[in-house]
């Protein structure tokens, strides 16, 4: 995703090595994706679901058939 938009930055965080950060985001299960500090997507998810979920979560009106499923 970071490669496809200059607006996107992607941090891969080793949860067990950064306890403070994991506490702050209440990481109880992995993978956990946190977008813009507030949108949480838990577990693995297929790309056609994941990306619209994230974009919708941050308030972007996404034009995609997948986006209407939630």
């Amino acid at each position: 995703m970071a490669m496809e938009s200059e607006w996107v930055t992607a941090d891969m965080v080793e949860a067990s090595e950064f306890a403070e950060l994991s506490d702050r985001y209440q990481v109880y299960a992995v993978p956990l994706t946190v977008a813009n500090d507030r949108v949480r997507v838990e577990g693995g998810m297929q790309e056609p679901m994941f990306i619209p979920r994230i974009l919708q979560g941050i308030g972007l009106q996404v034009d995609s058939p997948f986006a209407k499923q939630d």
């Binding site: 995703m1 970071a2 490669m3 496809e4 938009s5 200059e6 607006w7 996107v8 930055t9 992607a10 941090d11 891969m12 965080v13 080793e14 949860a15 067990s16 090595e17 950064f18 950060l21 994991s22 985001y25 990481v27 992995v30 993978p31 956990l32 994706t33 946190v34 977008a35 813009n36 500090d37 790309e47 056609p48 990306i51 619209p52 994230i54 974009l55 941050i58 972007l60 996404v62 034009d63 995609s64």
Partner: protein, 154 residues
């Protein structure tokens, strides 16, 4: 002692021979209070030793403030995975870094190791591998999106 097994090393060496553009691994470390910095450095050194296309540069998080700011590094150990692009204009070769904003915080080991190696390939090719639909969606972004993906080694 080497972290990578000989068989893995040989397989990676062969795979890395397919790399296109060079990839720079910009590593941030510090001497004190960083339990996982030495291990991360060893992983990166072993990877960089497998291909001329993988460059490793090392900065000190506590000292190299300019680089910390440039790469927007939040904590250590950190690795920025950056594409090195070469351009020839009128016979003059210039290189520039293409920083996609990909960062690894912590040791790229276990499950993360595979993801890390895949990212090296994607960055080298300059191709995310996402679907046309996904690319179209992401192209609609007009504001910052900061993703933090938490995982564990197993």
């Amino acid at each position: 002692m080497a972290l990578l097994k000989d068989s893995d090393r040989e397989q990676l060496r062969q795979e890395f021979s397919q790399l296109e553009s060079p990839v720079k691994l910009v590593f941030f470390t510090q001497a004190l209070n960083c339990d996982y910095c030495p291990l991360t450095q060893q992983v990166l050194e072993e990877l960089a030793g497998l291909s001329d296309k993988i460059q490793l540069v090392i900065y000190n998080f506590a000292i190299d403030q300019e680089q910390v700011t440039l790469y927007k590094i939040a904590r250590v150990p950190a690795v920025a995975v950056v594409r090195v692009e070469t351009q020839t204009v009128d016979g003059v070769v210039t290189t520039r870094e293409h920083d996609y904003g990909i960062r690894y915080y912590g040791v790229p080991a276990g499950y993360e190791f595979g993801a890390f190696v895949n990212d090296i390939f994607d960055v080298s090719r300059g191709e995310s591998g996402l679907s046309v639909q996904s690319k179209a969606l992401l192209a609609q972004l007009t504001e910052p999106l900061h993703l933090q993906v938490f995982s564990t080694p197993t």
